[in-house]
């Protein structure tokens, strides 16, 4: 068990964005989190990464309760995320973006940086080469020097994934990585996430692209109005009448076959 | 001045005199009066032909660092024989030591704080120090109004008004006055009602105000409006015909000690006043007058020195005794400070009168 969410609740004023949501993710699986708009999926990410503090409930990562830990410590423990509305460092190059991702896996401070100690230079070299490997890995090999702002949308999404991978996470959270991608690009994304899984990284995925979700995920949880309404394998979810009613719809079923 | 122009054969002594003045910024009015006074004197002096003075005027904007660079420029790039200015005592505190180190005589015409000439042998002033002026004014006021209780009001974020306050407080304590309250105000403030209301409630016999005339005049105006009618005693910065311009009738009752009295029955004074008014369209104040006299003092020292040499000029300045200018009789003491008797004035019916 990599991650356990126990009875998580989050209220915004009177609005209950999440109530009593529990689920757990096994080592190495790809776990899908789906549900209608405003169901609380992104909020769940924000709770796991401590961007918000839960109103109540517990989040357990590798046996440790990580509630209330500072976000950067959570990354250090091995959870990293991408954002629904891309948040790259716009004026940095692709390479620099990824290098920032390696921050918590490196340690040189002010003094060693200014005096360029041997260990600092070695570390910099290591960060460089790892960043380039990762860019290669997500298919941005030629774009190291390009300012991330001027990358196309799909490339930015992949760069975000590379940046998150740079922190050597055990658990990777992806928030709608396929949004705004066409089918060719989506299928490239599919392979990328598979490759990530092959490296032993557990993935928690939010996505509205059902064909992708169904092909990719080992298990899926469905949220609706902040409550979990179903959990199971893709096949179970696709046939769950509650899910169909709340989220998938039946009219257009043929599209997502 | 270079060697060539130092002593032109048998004729006039030619000298470059540097001026550091407060020309831009909030206190530019002082700098303006000073440079006006200097220019007027220069014209007259050069007209007489004994010495030929060339003024090299630099702005300090009232800031020490700029005063210092201006001084460096004058001393090192322009090679002036002597310097007049800077305007503020703060600036002199920075410039004085440097001039002294370089052996350039420097004379303040408006620096009234304590310890200025004591900076070094090359530092002089012809401005009446507050330490002389304020006690004189307070003495007369006590005598006349039988004052026992006073309130003090001063600007605490300005060097000059703060050091004026220090002098005032000392004087008041020495005279055994009861200080009811000490209130402060800050630069750029336009509302003094809170402080004045508080003072009004304490019913003092006299208000001692260490303020520059700009603020001082407004303070009097607001005080009179709320019904405070006791006299004010002010320091050097308060002493200006502008007070009457700004505050109008509210200025009545201001008592100041001054080296300069423009209504004096004296030919020199009258001539200066009328020339100044013609040239610049307003009455000269003490700053213009002191600057005017200062250049004459420089000229006399240069004549006595006989050459445009810094050390000779310093020695000649130190020798000045019984100089007769528009401020009255004037001498330097051993330290280069002023020896003279201040006149105490009061504003009555919208004009400065001698206070007896």
């Amino acid at each position: 068990m990599v991650l356990q969410v126990k009875k998580a609740c989050k209220n915004f004023g009177g609005l209950s964005a999440l109530s009593d949501v529990s689920f757990s993710i096994n080592q190495g699986e790809i776990f899908g989190l789906i549900g209608p708009n405003g169901a609380g999926k992104t909020t769940m990410f924000n709770l796991i990464t401590s961007m918000f503090t839960p109103t109540s409930g517990e989040i357990i990562f590798n046996e440790d309760n990580i509630n209330g830990l500072k976000p950067h410590l959570i990354t250090k423990k091995g959870i990293c995320r991408t954002f629904q509305n891309i948040r790259l460092f716009p004026q940095m190059t692709a390479e620099e973006n990824v290098m920032v991702g390696e921050h918590c896996r490196s340690k040189s401070g002010v003094i060693s940086s200014v005096f360029r100690t041997k260990s600092q230079r070695k570390e910099e070299d290591r960060i460089h080469s790892k960043a380039n490997e990762l860019l290669e890995f997500v298919g941005l090999g030629g774009y190291a020097e390009v300012v991330s702002d001027s990358l196309a949308y799909g490339q930015q999404r992949r760069l975000e994934i590379a940046r998150a991978l740079a922190s050597s996470p055990q658990l990777l959270l992806l928030d709608e990585p396929a949004a705004g991608m066409n089918e060719t690009e989506t299928s490239e994304l599919f392979h990328l996430i598979k490759k990530i899984q092959e490296q032993g990284i557990t993935v928690l995925l939010i996505e509205h692209d059902m064909p992708l979700v169904m092909r990719l995920c080992d298990r899926i949880a469905v949220l609706n109005f902040g409550k979990k309404i179903a959990e199971g394998t893709p096949a179970e979810i696709q046939n769950n009448p509650d899910v169909i009613e709340a989220y998938l719809g039946s009219e257009e079923e043929d599209l997502y076959a | 001045a270079g060697d060539e122009e130092g002593k032109s054969s048998g004729g006039a002594v030619k000298a470059d005199i540097g001026v550091i003045s407060y020309i831009s910024g909030p206190g530019a009015a002082y700098g303006e009066a000073i440079t006006n006074g200097l220019k007027l004197a220069q014209e007259e002096i050069n007209g007489k032909g004994e010495v030929e003075i060339n003024l090299v005027i630099e702005d300090s904007a009232g800031k020490q660092d700029q005063a210092l660079t201006a001084a460096q420029k004058l001393m090192n790039s322009e090679n002036v024989t002597g310097i007049i200015g800077p305007t503020l005592s703060t600036e002199m505190n920075v410039v004085g030591p440097e001039a002294d180190l370089n052996g350039v005589p420097i004379m303040g015409t408006s620096t009234t704080a304590e310890g200025i000439p004591q900076i070094g042998d090359y530092v002089f002033r012809n401005s009446l120090p507050e330490a002389l002026a304020i006690p004189a004014a307070i003495d007369k006021a006590i005598e006349k109004y039988d004052a026992k209780k006073v309130a003090i009001l001063y600007g605490n974020d300005d060097v000059f008004t703060k050091s004026g306050f220090d002098t005032m407080k000392k004087a008041a304590e020495e005279k055994g006055l009861e200080i009811l309250t000490t209130e402060t105000f800050q630069k750029g403030q336009s509302d003094y009602n809170a402080q004045l209301t508080k003072i009004k409630g304490l019913k003092p016999d006299l208000i001692l105000a260490s303020a520059l005339y700009n603020e001082g005049a407004v303070i009097m105006d607001q005080a009179r409006k709320m019904g405070i009618d006791v006299p004010f005693v002010g320091g050097n910065g308060f002493n200006s015909p502008e007070v009457i311009n700004i505050a109008g009738d509210a200025a009545n009752g201001l008592i100041v000690a001054t080296p300069w009295y423009g209504e004096k029955e004296d030919d020199k004074v009258k001539e200066f006043v009328s020339k100044y008014e013609k040239e610049y369209g307003k009455k000269p104040d003490q700053f213009a007058a002191q600057a005017y006299d200062a250049l004459y003092i420089m000229a006399e020292a240069l004549t006595n020195a006989g050459e445009a040499d810094r050390d000779a000029l310093r020695d000649a300045l130190a020798e000045i005794k019984g100089f007769n200018g528009i401020l009255g009789e004037f001498s330097f003491d051993e330290e280069g400070d002023v020896v003279m008797d201040p006149t105490v004035l009061v504003i009555e019916g919208g004009a400065f009168k001698e206070f007896n």
């Binding site: 500072k70 990293c80 460092f89 910099e124 | 020309i23 702005d59 505190n93």
Partner: protein, 325 residues
């Protein structure tokens, strides 16, 4: 020959330029994490007063005063940096400006210590002290063919030059490292930076304290170069002036504040001949500059261009290091 070249006037101006460059760098450091701090005039004042009081009242050597003043300013940087962490943008700017004002008001009112607005005079002068010390060893500037005052200003200038170059080198190196990347990331997107594992509290306070430290250092130098300080030296105008150095020169790269300070300190001197109008012109130049080059005099593109002109390729990680300069 040397003697003719050394004009204390130019050295004096150069010294002020160098002090201003250090001040410009101080605000740049904090800005490089996206925090606009206007407290640097206050930190400068803390440094200046500390060093001045220590050297005046306890006869400590100047170097000790400088050290203590700088550290105390840095300490205040930490103290102010922590509670203001939650503030952003203009809020932070105004609160820090307010902090500077409060410091000034304390200098004004704490008369027993600071002599209030009258200020501290007779502060040991760096150049003159050096001269006196060397004289103790039988040195005379005449040996170098220099006048006393020429020597004094040359000494100050050289010391400041070394200090300035060291500071610039320090921060250029820091910028190109892990720390510099963390700063830049926080500046560009704080939340994202935090999510990428950067301890934003630490780095923001670090930057704030470094800025305070450097400003305090500049303050100590100011005190011992001018030999006189008063609260007015560390007021609003100074705070704004420091900010203008950075933005006018370009706040994205360290060379920006350096050139900004250079240009803007030299300009009023150059404009001396039109003394009455020079501040109007100063204002106008700022407006025009912002309209024409809102990113400031120096930006990444210019630096790259300069690099291109001066170096002939063969650089390994070119863009990344240039960018973070």
């Amino acid at each position: 020959m040397l003697a003719e070249l050394i004009n204390p006037y130019y050295l004096q101006v150069a010294s002020f330029i160098l002090i201003n460059i250090i001040l410009g760098v101080s605000i740049y450091i904090t800005l490089s994490t996206g925090q606009l701090s206007l407290a640097n005039a206050g930190f400068m004042g803390i440094g200046a007063y500390t060093s001045a009081l220590l050297t005046l009242n306890f006869d400590l050597p100047i170097i000790v005063g400088i050290f203590a003043g700088t550290l105390l300013a840095g300490l205040f940087g930490i103290l102010i940096g922590i509670p203001t962490l939650r503030l952003q943008g203009v809020y932070l700017a105004i609160v820090t400006l307010g902090f500077g004002e409060v410091i000034r008001v304390i200098f004004v009112n704490w008369e027993s210590m600071t002599k209030g607005a009258v200020g501290l005079s007779g502060i040991p002068h760096m150049g003159r002290e050096i001269l006196n010390t060397l004289r103790g060893f039988g040195f005379d500037p005449k040996i170098l063919g220099l006048q006393n005052n020429q020597f004094v200003f040359l000494a100050i200038f050289l010391i400041l030059l070394v200090a300035t170059i060291s500071i610039i080198t320090f921060f250029r190196r820091q910028n190109r490292s892990r720390v510099g990347r963390a700063f830049a990331a926080i500046k560009l997107d704080e939340k994202a930076a935090e999510s990428m594992g950067i301890n934003i509290t630490y780095y923001k306070v670090l930057a704030f304290a470094q800025g305070a430290l450097v400003a305090g250092f500049a303050g100590t130098l100011f005190a011992h170069v001018l030999a006189y300080i008063s609260p007015a030296d560390f007021a609003y105008h100074r705070a704004v002036e420091i900010l203008i150095f950075a933005v006018f020169g370009g706040s994205e790269v360290i060379w920006g504040p350096v050139f900004g300070a250079l240009f803007l300190t030299a300009m009023p001197e150059v404009l001396r001949f039109i003394s009455e109008y020079r501040y109007m012109i100063y204002g106008l130049i700022i407006i025009i500059m912002m309209a024409v080059r809102p990113q400031g005099l120096i930006d990444v593109n210019i630096l790259n261009w300069v690099k291109l002109k001066t170096s002939r390729r063969g650089q390994k990680h070119g863009t990344s290091s240039q960018k973070s300069m």
